[in-house]
Symmetry: C2
Subunit: 324 residues, 2 copies
């Protein structure tokens, strides 16, 4: 029988790898020494089996995703990741599951040079709660309320393939995806890439005004920027960069899943029109494609238009955990 302390020691404690923590796993608290003059950015996300991922999900993918969705919040703030805590409720201490989960988790942690500094493990319905810590220089954080009228709206990467994969798994598509397409789309759902490098550059160089990461669907998440900034926007649905698999689907599906698919973990950010060249140069320097998809308006409300600028009426619901 694997005890709680053995479990932590074998799967989550990496001796000599406390990273930037003065004290890591194995005390009442972890201790971080903040870089002088920097603010600490903190975000917490909880993933529940059957809600955020399928029962029986591959544990390595789950380890990746649980950390990735949190890093995506740091990216949207323009913060540099420093470390994270993990609280984990498990139905049982299954060695294969733990080995896979920790492998996926630490592979992504290593890619961003951050370390697990503490947490908790307990028995219970599978639940993964990660809290990430990052650093950002005062005044540089990309806040939701900082959009300005006339700003361009930009999207990193592509949208909608994660939602397409979900529809594929659920057999909700008019025409099923072939196996290769489903696999390609599903990779976006299972192993999102947090846009940390792009977020950092946009913040450090003062290029972007507001940013958010697209987790619940672009229209809903952009709505948070508009609400916090007390502004409106016009969004060109046909300019939205569809994922490569979704791009082969019909236009109604493309529009719907790009605009409100969710689970994209791309950045939506605003920047003044005068910064277009700087945005493209920053994106290019971190090999992250970006697409200009609309503009922030002084008039409140979100106007959806097509490639000709004509209004589109789409019934687009953002995901809500308690009403859906």
């Amino acid at each position: 029988m694997l005890s709680e302390f053995d479990l932590i020691k074998h799967y989550f404690q990496r001796p000599g790898r406390a990273g930037r923590a003065t004290l890591g796993i194995g005390d009442d608290c972890a201790l971080l020494t903040p870089t002088p003059g920097m603010q600490t950015a903190i975000s917490s996300d909880m993933l529940v089996e059957g809600r955020h991922f399928f029962a029986g999900e591959d544990p390595a993918r789950l380890g990746h995703k649980a950390l990735a969705v949190n890093l995506s919040d740091l990216a949207a703030m323009g913060a540099r990741p420093v470390g994270f805590t993990l609280a984990l409720a498990l139905p049982a201490a299954n060695r294969d599951w733990l080995a896979g989960f920790s492998q996926g988790l630490f592979a992504l942690a290593d890619a961003f040079d951050i370390e697990l500094i503490g947490g908790d493990t307990t028995k219970g319905p599978l639940n993964i709660c990660i809290t990430v810590f990052g650093e950002v220089r005062p005044g540089q954080a990309l806040r939701r309320g900082a959009a300005q009228a006339g700003d361009d709206i930009w999207i990193s990467g592509t949208l909608g393939d994660a939602r397409l994969a979900l529809a594929g798994y659920r057999l909700e598509l008019p025409q099923p995806l072939d196996a290769a397409s489903l696999q390609a789309a599903a990779a976006r759902m299972h192993t999102p890439s947090p846009r940390v490098a792009l977020g950092l550059l946009l913040a450090q160089q003062g290029i972007a005004h507001a940013a958010i990461d697209i987790s619940d669907g672009l229209v809903g998440d952009l709505g948070h920027i508009l609400h916090a900034s007390a502004l409106g926007a016009t969004l060109d649905l046909d300019a939205l960069p569809a994922g490569p698999v979704l791009a082969a689907q019909d236009i109604a599906l493309r529009r719907a899943y790009c605009a409100a698919g969710g689970d994209d973990y791309e950045l939506c950010f605003t920047a003044p029109a005068s910064a277009r060249a700087a945005v493209l140069a920053a994106a290019d320097s971190v090999a992250t494609p970006v697409t200009r998809v609309g503009a922030i308006d002084a008039a409140s409300g979100l106007r959806l238009v097509d490639a000709q600028g004509l209004p589109l009426q789409l019934k687009l619901d953002s995901f809500d955990h308690f009403t859906s």
Copy 2:
């Protein structure tokens, strides 16, 4: 239907109460501005229904306890609480439950002048994950590995009443408790008092060497100090300060529940014998009783003795989430 955003807004967002956070609930990350020169202490605890609390537990008590167990970790580190995040999985968005939970949570938060700065809410089996942040001066944190041979071992407050209440609820006692006794003991289980003021003084004044909070039972938790410090100890079981309800029980129960009851959230700390007067003065100044219960030995192993110093053989298991 209460949406996720309405839920956060109505029950967890307190306008103008971001406390020491530069940016609180409502952005991708919270932003904390660390006090220059201080380290950040971080702890995360996850409470699962049916595991850490009974199904149907009073939500206000649960709000208190979920934060209290985390503050207790800061106390054991000698850190001053600064803020916390809350990730919450709920089977449904029940208004009465949310009102009670947030009332209990914020009452304790206000008592320690800290604020909720961010988090996550989702649907799922009831699970409460709080991550707390505190500050401590470099070199002052009370680490588990800092005990020294010859140190006294001290306990704050009293032990065992929470475990006695659990046994009472489970009808495991040879003689049932009367209603008033059960209620008094249960108050220790439901609404523990984190020993933040005492921990702070012990750290700031450099009085204590090592500390831990007693959550899984004294013997097991003291064992973490011994393991981390590579030392042993002699513990006088009859010196352990039994809670007022447990004190009226027979000696075997007193010893067992004081030594390994769990859920006490008192501090176990070590300090040199030369600091006895300082320990007592510090404890007195924050109105927290302390009791000297043993000594740290150079020889490894934990020796349990009675009031006469004679060895006691007790089968004492510390709580483990995956083997019990």
